[in-house]
């Protein structure tokens, strides 16, 4: 079931926005014709493979590649010595700030390996078999070191230290000894300890989550080719080919203009493809071998060597009055960063209490390095785990107060005019409407049976804007091509076509959206942060508007009237000058057909930096049933309500809402990195790392609340990340109700459920 609820003032009479055309890339994707990263090939290409560390933490004593290089068919071997040592430099080239030194050392180790799977060498050979044989011939001598993966163990003063240069930022005085604690974050207002002491009702809990992977189906893959003159080309699957270009140039010491990157279709990213792993290796191998090099990760490599998101510890204390006003909140977050600093704990702090209006609070976050793969962004980075702790605590508070959990959230919820815990005052948000929609939904009135439980949880994500470029070209027949630089990971091509069609006044089928390579369109930040429909969509609208302006100018010339005497209505130029009498309108097709006589090709390109992305809120309702014999959790019903701004293509907005919920259910119930005593991952494959499949899930119902964002021409807000924030808590609260015990440690896998049930039975 799907519903769209508008605020009364939100109706706007669009012709195309809000319709549900078939996605332009759909046929290719369902027929297997679409070309993903691993589908590219070049004449004479070599196969690249990576030799990876078997140790979680070790010093590299020596690397001897002579035997590998002597193997017939081997054309190149690179190690860390083939890459420049970069200084510590924060670069804003991607979705978030990255330290290029760390990224370079993550791509290929230098003096130490910091996790099992860390790349130490790469080979290019004429076949995969020879490349793999060569890997075995590379002799690496290690001095194994003690390792640490658990976040609290890594924070202990006795823990093995990963980096001698990390002295905790954000504490005063700054430590004089290095540690694994890279940074302390804090957001606070008022006196939380006094407010907690004065509270009439208090709850407290310690919640834990494990590292989980984004689980995209398509592994990382690329083809790279570097010519003798240093000109390079890359074909790869990523969330941003401009990001691939910028990072590859930095890591190899090249100029950005020397690299051209062509995007492949992307088989899922969810934040995990906002960084690079293979491209610099493939380029370095190609440079050495003088031939193109193709590299494709195995699933095992994806798990062991690319970024999951953090596991963490979330400690929450809440205080309230007896009539249900939350007066105090104290949240402490400890997040694994993996091998290098940069967990999403900062964003986790900022989102922790964003759904609530609380006078006194303190949120502290710790960014902690561990001997596990460097974490990468994962859909609303940092927010789901902190929402797990906070929302479970809010549920516990509701139970303690004896009030409905939705009513408690409405009473304390963020609304326009409330100053968010992270600073700004909210405007144009629809959180309360979202809560009301769930409260009045038929799902909420259904009775539960034995062994069943119901969970409600809320979530928030900022959404971002940023730099984007779009071009709009009118063909000689009056059809249009819309060109952008953002890989389509969630149906954005359809949204771009819809927005262009709306402005041009033509059928959406007459607009072909294209994603161009880095040399063929101006810069765009990557696809992430729920920014593409908002920011790149804004560029598309502005480019289409410029085209309309040009069409009006040309019609004015044809009619010999001032430009302000021409209107654009329904895809036609209409003459407003009464002196001209009954002039027949000029269609887009007609104007396109006479373009040579009126000034040449009709096209426009617009680059902008979109500001004012509107934040999003979601509320999820989940019913589960426990099998007391096996501990299996069956999700019976699931409802997602979300403030989506304006749904440009409602089907893909619903798809984002359903997809986020599905991923969150997996995170809550089954997914986790499991390490053995030596720090080696034990479940690096989809048989043992269990993501939910279709048969695990019910139909996920959706309710779209449309509270338009006034900064977007059509009111769009980002929608892709909010829906993964509430599910961890919604599922855990439902399971807790079903088993009768507050479940605080994810995932809620069958052995964990059985252990609780067995303990209850005595």
């Amino acid at each position: 079931m799907s519903d769209v609820l508008d605020r009364p003032d939100a109706k706007a009479g669009f012709a195309t926005v809000g319709t549900r055309p078939v996605r332009p890339d759909g046929v290719d994707k369902v027929t297997g014709r679409a070309a993903f990263g691993a589908d590219f090939a070049m004449p004479g290409q070599l196969t690249g493979r990576v030799k990876r560390s078997p140790h979680a933490h070790a010093r590299i004593v020596s690397i001897d590649a002579r035997k590998a290089l002597a193997l017939p068919g081997v054309k190149a071997v690179v190690t860390g010595a083939d890459f420049p040592d970069l200084a510590s430099e924060i670069v804003e080239g991607g979705e978030a700030a990255s330290n290029m030194r760390d990224m370079a050392v993550n791509v290929i180790a230098r003096d130490k390996v910091l996790y099992e799977g860390h790349a130490v060498a790469a080979v290019a050979a004429v076949s995969a078999a020879i490349a793999e044989e060569a890997l075995d011939l590379i002799e690496v001598k290690y001095e194994p070191l003690a390792h640490v993966i658990d976040v609290e163990a890594a924070m202990a003063s006795s823990a093995p230290v990963l980096h001698d240069h990390i002295f905790t930022d954000g504490v005063d005085p700054k430590p004089t000894l290095p540690s694994n604690i890279a940074k302390r974050h804090q957001f606070a207002r008022g006196d939380v300890e006094a407010a907690l002491a004065a509270a009439e009702v208090r709850v407290e809990g310690r919640y834990t989550t494990k590292a989980v992977h984004q689980g995209y189906i398509e592994p990382h893959a690329c083809v790279a080719s570097m010519s003798a003159d240093g000109q390079a080309q890359i074909w790869s699957s990523s969330q941003g080919h401009f990001m691939v270009r910028a990072y590859s140039a930095k890591i190899l010491g090249l100029d950005i203009s020397d690299i051209r990157v062509t995007p492949a279709e992307i088989g899922g990213g969810f934040g995990g493809k906002t960084v690079i792993y293979l491209e610099p290796l493939a380029l370095a191998l190609s440079r050495q071998a003088g031939a193109p090099v193709k590299m494709v990760m195995s699933r095992d490599e994806v798990f062991r060597a690319t970024g999951p998101t953090s596991g963490g510890v979330i400690h929450v204390r809440l205080g309230a009055t007896r009539d249900g006003k939350i007066t105090a909140a104290d949240v402490e977050l400890k997040y694994q960063a993996g091998a290098f600093p940069g967990s999403p704990v900062g964003a986790a702090c900022m989102t922790a209490l964003a759904c609530y209006d609380i006078a006194d609070f303190r949120i502290v976050g710790w960014d902690v390095v561990t001997n596990s793969p460097k974490v990468a962004a994962y859909r609303a980075p940092g927010a789901p785990a902190t929402a797990f702790g906070v929302e479970c605590a809010v549920d516990e508070l509701a139970k303690k107060l004896g009030v409905d959990p939705i009513e408690l959230r409405i009473k304390n919820g963020a609304r326009d005019g409330v100053k968010a815990a992270y600073g700004p005052t909210f405007q144009n948000i629809g959180y309360i409407e979202t809560l009301e929609a769930v409260k009045t939904h038929p799902h909420y009135a259904l009775k539960l049976g034995p062994n069943q439980g119901r969970g409600i949880a809320a979530g928030f994500w900022f959404n971002v804007g940023g730099e984007s470029t779009a071009a709009c070209h009118i063909g000689e027949d009056g059809t249009a091509t819309v060109v952008t630089g953002n890989p389509d990971i969630g149906g954005s091509r359809a949204s771009m076509a819809i927005m262009a069609a709306e402005v041009l006044g033509i059928p959406v089928d007459n607009v072909r959206p294209v994603i161009a390579d880095t040399a063929s369109i101006g810069y765009s930040m990557l696809t992430g942060g729920s920014r593409t429909t908002f920011a790149t969509g804004m560029a598309v609208v502005r480019a289409a508007e410029k085209v309309v302006g040009e069409l009006k100018r040309r019609a004015a010339g044809v009619w010999s009237v001032p430009e302000d005497q021409v209107a654009w209505e329904g895809g036609r130029a209409v003459c407003l000058d009464p002196a001209k009498g009954d002039v027949k309108p000029l269609t887009l097709k007609g104007l396109a057909g006479m373009s040579a006589r009126t000034g040449g090709p009709i096209s426009a390109e617009v680059s902008l930096n979109a500001q004012g992305a509107g934040p999003g809120f979601g509320v999820h309702l989940c019913d589960v049933e426990i099998d007391p014999e096996t501990g299996h959790v069956k999700v019976l019903r699931y409802l997602v309500a979300q403030d989506v701004g304006r749904a440009i293509h409602p089907s893909y907005v619903e798809g984002q809402m359903q997809g986020g919920a599905a991923q969150g259910v997996g995170w809550a119930l089954n997914e986790e990195y499991v390490f053995d005593a030596d720090g080696k991952m034990e479940n690096a494959g989809f048989l043992d790392y269990r993501v939910p499949v279709a048969s695990d899930l019910p139909m996920i119902d959706t309710v779209m609340i449309e509270v338009p964002n006034p900064r977007h021409p059509f009111g769009a807000k980002g929608v892709g990340e909010v829906p993964i924030v509430p599910p961890l808590a919604a599922v855990a609260i439902a399971v807790s109700e079903a088993v009768g015990v507050r479940m605080k440690d994810l995932p809620l896998s069958p052995p964990k459920i059985r252990a609780v049930l067995d303990a209850k039975a005595g």
Partner: protein, 76 residues
């Protein structure tokens, strides 16, 4: 002001400043707290009356009721 700025300002979180654009605000901040303006320019977003600007040097703030400096936001 949120995030890491406290380390530049000695813990001070709020202050009054005469500025009509974000660029002027950053300049003034740098004068009062050396390093803070540069840090804001590179790493902070500016929320003007609740609306977040990730890069807003030229954004007018003369009539704004509230300016919040917050860490830049990424995403997945």
């Amino acid at each position: 002001m949120g995030g890491d700025l406290a380390s530049f300002t000695g813990g001070r979180a709020e202050f009054d400043v005469a500025a009509t654009t974000v660029r002027e605000l950053i300049r003034e901040l740098e004068q009062r707290y050396p390093g803070a303006g540069d840090y804001v320019a590179r790493r902070m977003a500016v929320a003007i009356d609740g609306e977040i600007h990730q890069d807003a040097d030229a954004a007018p703030i003369g009539g704004a009721r509230e300016i919040c400096l917050i860490p830049k936001i990424g995403g997945g």
